[in-house]
Symmetry: D2
Subunit: 470 residues, 4 copies
């Protein structure tokens, strides 16, 4: 059976003790420590939603005993890809935070596409290993995180000039490889059973040691997790769900971690590193860069609209104008993402379906700049109280509760207003803006990838043809 | 046979003398007068392209004797609608100007949708008349223009308060109606065989006289055309095709024009005026507001890229950055348009397929602001010479030709550079920016229509659900 | 002696116990409680800077025994006003947070201007009281906060329709008045000796009870402070100065607070409420809306530039382009602020000098939108680590310190890089964006005030003249 | 006498026949030929305004017999510089086009600054010649044009690699030099008595032949003028003043033109070419880049506001919002320009006063992007009729006049509305946008110059100091 319940998810997690660190101290219990609990809670919720309720059909593939999580599925058709994207949007709207299984889903698709092509090229072992890995993952419904970003140190230097800044193979053994290095910005890794690791960029001949992709289980010897400094749940004590928190990230630190060959999916084939990264990016810029933020946007717009109502300004022309601008941004992201699906192609032929390269980058770029704008507009509508509001605890104590009820009480709904302000604060004065800037790759990377995908000659030819070939 | 050739198009045009005016004088021959010739040439080219060459399959519906112009077709499926949109984009890229049959195509679709619903409502005559009209139009391959925009006078007043500012029925006769008023901004009307007229906005009870839609042939008694002030072809004499010119518009002035009942498609049913306008807008904001500008963008980007190459700056980071920004804009428009098709629905069920209301408005809004930005970027890349370049005649005379060759001669291609500058000038210092602002309706109208299409309650509900119903 | 030292400032503060609340509990010692200590530390630093070091001459007026804080000075010349503005910029750059004496400085100037005009109008008592108050304030070098913003409840209602949402006079007694209500968003009030209160908007006949301006000392009976929910110092333990924290605000709650007539500066004269608010806004939009953010911008730009250097990308064209865009924004704010001073006028003649209304609003509006953009750019340059970096405590412990040094160690300066990331995080993922949006009034208020200050007729006349009076 | 009247200006112009070409043909009479008459008319108007009316005091320096045109004056104080800037703004507002004497005024200031420094450096002859030239110019009140822009060919090549693309000295003779090459984009040169020529950029050792600055009289042997392709007056025959037309430019072509030493101001001193260009840019980006467009903005905003009134939409929130955005842009330009003056310094000490480098570039950059936005907004408010309106001749003929009066007649003022539409069309669908982009240098050049003027180290130091020197 391929669909774990929440209990099963947690049990498997607890079965693998891991070296997790936050603020200079070791985290003993990820399910309860404030620095990790929200990520675990989010993951639990994803397992819950996949088994019951209206999202279950979308979150699963197949039926009955053959059913498994769509997060472990590689899109086999345009419709399949559309469901992958819809899943990203729905989970974002449902959770108000990262679902943490998204990156691995796109990494598996990219690995599937590339290893299939490698197999056509005569190198079929990676393909077989990946299939086997996927079977195991589906059978036990593993939560997997995935990561590409190396520290990179001085960006002017190639990996070979500063090897310690990149994950690399330090030893090849008959039974596997030994890897060293770190991956930054790992979303949800502390709450995952397994971790996928891919190279962070295109590599050249001579850089074989860095061309490595593999899977590694939670708590593998030599593997540590260093959680980001700022963690915890927003809301000043408001009874939001335990998973409502900014995206949780950590560093994955590999200090000579052994990976058996069965879980190695690339090792030294530098020329496949570029395609691997770029296909991952096509997937992830459409799903996480694009669709996910369409879901978040509903929450941000909904909160701003609700606050405007409570202040009596919902009918003001400038508030309506701003809400319409917010929706225009949201629907632009949706439009680009949908079009990237519409133009998707299987790669290689018969293989996984991947979104259009140009449109998936365009989705990401519109989101990257538009998300700042949307949050600026939300901050304008919400007013200064979105950062100066008193705590939820103030509402629940006296004499402070009297004041809060009195002065948050427009339309007699001070409680809802305070909740909305704290809800929105997490967006307009928190991590989400930078997270959206850089999630699924920086805008600079997106522009470069876009530039490469454009047929510039066709455009020049169109002018020349019309001008009469001057 | 439903596909006229260029000769047939012109003969039918000349067979109907019309009262056409420009700059205080009457235009006798529309095919040769500089104020009207470019529009006729563009229309001719559209007829030519529909009969041979790579675009022919796209521009026609059906095969053999049953074939007719897609410009006279009402989309019957999502795929049909996608072809409608693709036609708009391809013709824009091919012509570098308006194809002039586009507005009527969308108006016919809106009329078809609304009259079908009226028929379901028990009022079937309009539907039958429209079918009959479409048969005649397809059989003779009529070039049709269409218009909605009344002068409107003081925008604070309703039509009844200033009836002379709106096209209206001044007499109902047993054999038809008599109409009076004017329609502004009529693209290509001087080069059309027939004209469709629709109301310009939603009307209320008591405004029955303005709720009128009808078709009228070129040169109908009482009908005059007043051509816009600035006309003519750009390029300072460069040998561009005769149709390469800004969009051509005129006023249609109705001074008691008689319209037989057979060509009346709405007359007094005020409650259908709103749906008629809004369905037209959905079509036209996706096709003209969106797809058409994707085609134009190829020309603008192509010209800018070619000029950058000739100046040796194509590799400069800031030029590349700007070209990528231009493509990002273009693909954003494409994305929104495609998504509007992806989400299209038949209306009424079984009837014509119409693009999604929200996404078609979003396409228009992105184009409206983005087109200015794209042209600004093109103007930056092209440099001051895009407006200060000497004339093509200077290139062809002496001693001026010597100077032009000398100082336009980066990379030894002065002739091409001069042509590109004049080509681009028509965009960055011409009518296109305002035309794009207001074509397919002003941004303000688009925002309003968008606002109405959004499910605001769903967004607020999403937040409340996540917050735990506070 | 008019210049207190830090010790004097704190002693006077401690001499007045106050009812201060945070998170449902009472704050006993503002100097040490984490919810209030940063504000007190900032205020201390302002006192220190005024007595020694390079800023001392700028921060004081007069010399020797007559010297007093410029924060208690009303500008008497254009040069004086320029120094007022320069003080705002320098303190922002020096503190990296609010200096907390700024609002009162502008409120005193507005009160001085209005009460002088009232005196010319025959109502001289307010003017005398203010003079007397200023003398006392300067003699003891009071730290004063000031506030205008009432809760306002339902924005569609006038104060009289929801009196509890506005500070108002509930009793007039022979010796003074009794006030009730609250002021929101009070910057630094918990660290001030006195508080000024002004009306929040223009009032009409019948709204006399709300037309009240007064001063009230810390800890006055019936006065409470409710501190905002999110407080504390950024940096994950980095050894930043104790005052480096987001702007500190609270609510001031007046539960029947008695104010003797000597400290009442407006009471019932509704027609002066509009000028009072608008003159305060002119001052504050130039000083806080404009100049202060020019100072902050140096820190944000400096941090982004330093981080770019540490990553080796300082020479990348797109990073340079973004840094230049940031400086362009900063210098635009500076330009508008300086021009507002350049065009300043005394009001009334012979009275305080006030910045130009149009330019001071334009400064605020450029800052409001530009600050989001600047922080977006900073977030782009800084990269995802600005939110995902580990804690400073991780740097100082093992084994985490080893990892941090290793992977933050581009150019061998991991410690500086981590500090810069935490420094910048407070800006790109914190309160500053919304604070800048709404500080010195919302953009909507700024636009309205700007609209009123423009001579629209002159612009129309210029066109008509040039067109030849058509 | 230093102030010529209009007659004197024209007589001096006619006294010097010149080789002027347009569209492959020679222009015989610049005062009447449609390709040159508007520029001559603008220049005439500038002479008229300097002698009578409210602007006369501003446009002249000195009094009585010693009076001369401020266009021939080098600013000797901050106040002088402020008047220089005010002159630019007022003339723009008055003429609605270029005043054509502006570039030379800034070039003379740059030459004065640099030759003074060269004199301090022991090379005094240039300084003396310039003084002598200025005396003659002031005595006869010469209209002078000035130019820097070489064709530049392939931008990747240095001048020495493509000498024919730069103005250069081809012969040094005892009595003077012989120059060859061309200058593009020469505003008003056909209407000028003399022309100043400066290098277009910083030169290096080995590029001495290009380091040349000189003055040359109209009609000098070997000197030709090639007028831009598109010329003429806008308005479709509306009775606008004869000078109301887009900025007039031409190429100046030097085919072995002899320049006596007396009129040579730089010849081979490559190290002074950079300062010369950069000081010119500081002047011109404040005056032409900044102040001039503040004047134009009044016309554009005034026309949009007047049209909004005539359509009855002046009170619509979205129109008001847009008008306020236009004013915000305008006042931002004003603010940056004024601040550049406020921070001006004499260079060298005791020499001409020059605007601040950073702020003058910031003024230009804000104008460059903002002018497009302002015209987009104007185009939105004006509506489609701004490009589709019939001709003024239609208004004056029948039956067209009847239609125009009827359908332009909102608020009964069809004549004014038509005039306003044609007035505004010249801006929103004409040369002004590109002209503003590139006038006073491209934005890319402005950014580079800005980058050089910024003290980046000070910003980084401010952060480090605040962080406690980590």
């Amino acid at each position: 059976m391929g669909l774990a319940d929440e209990q099963g998810y947690v049990e498997l997690l607890m079965a693998r003790p891991a070296s997790i660190w936050w603020s200079g101290e070791r985290v003993e219990d990820v399910t309860s420590h404030p620095a990790t609990a929200p990520a675990v809670a989010a993951m639990r919720e994803v397992y819950r939603l996949a088994r019951k309720g209206p999202l279950a059909p979308l979150l699963t593939v197949g039926e009955g005993d053959g059913a498994y999580s769509r997060q472990l599925h590689v899109p086999q058709s345009r419709d399949d890809l559309a469901k992958r994207v819809e899943m990203a949007e729905e989970l974002a709207r449902q959770l108000g935070t990262c679902n943490y299984r998204c990156v691995a889903c796109d990494a598996l698709t990219a690995l599937s596409s590339v290893t299939l092509e490698m197999a056509e090229d005569g190198c079929g072992e990676y393909c077989q290993r990946l299939e086997h890995f996927l079977e195991r993952a589906r059978a036990e419904d593993w939560a997997i995180s995935a990561g590409l970003t190396d520290p990179k140190g001085d960006r002017r230097l190639r990996p070979g000039q500063q090897p310690e800044q990149y994950v690399r193979v330090v030893q090849r053994r008959p039974d596997g490889i030994v890897v060293r290095g770190a991956k930054l910005h790992q979303s949800g890794a502390v709450a995952a059973h397994w971790h996928l690791v891919l190279p962070g960029g295109a590599l050249r001949a001579g850089e074989e040691e860095f061309a490595v992709a593999f899977a590694v289980p939670r708590g593998a010897p030599g593997l540590s997790y260093l959680v980001q400094s700022e963690v915890g749940r927003p809301g000043g004590g408001a009874p939001f769900p335990p998973y409502y928190a900014p995206r949780h990230t950590c560093w994955l630190v590999f200090e000579d971690v052994f990976v058996p060959w069965d879980e190695v999916f690339l090792c030294g084939e530098v020329r496949w590193s570029g395609p691997l990264v770029s296909r991952f990016a096509r997937m992830h810029r459409a799903c996480c860069g694009g669709a996910c933020k369409v879901g978040f946007a509903d929450l941000v717009i909904g909160a701003a609209a609700a606050l405007a109502e409570l202040s009596g300004v919902a009918g003001s022309p400038h508030v309506r104008w701003q809400l319409v601008e917010m929706v225009t941004l949201q629907e632009t992201w949706r439009g680009c993402t949908m079009a990237a699906i519409y133009r998707s192609q299987p790669q290689p032929p018969g293989g996984p379906w991947l979104p259009d390269q140009v449109l998936s980058n365009v989705a990401k770029l519109n989101v990257a700049s538009g998300f700042w704008r949307m949050l600026a507009l939300a901050g304008d509508i919400a007013g200064g109280s979105v950062i100066t509001a008193p705590s939820w605890k103030d509402l629940c104590s006296e004499p402070t509760g009297r004041w809060v009820r009195q002065y948050m009480g427009a339309s007699g709904e001070g409680r809802q207003r305070l909740a909305l302000l704290h809800f929105l604060r997490a967006w307009v004065a928190g991590d989400h803006m930078v997270a959206t800037w850089h999630g699924a790759g920086s805008p600079a990377a997106g522009r470069l990838s876009l530039e490469r995908g454009v047929d510039w000659e066709a455009k020049k030819a169109a002018v020349r043809r019309l001008m009469g070939c001057h």
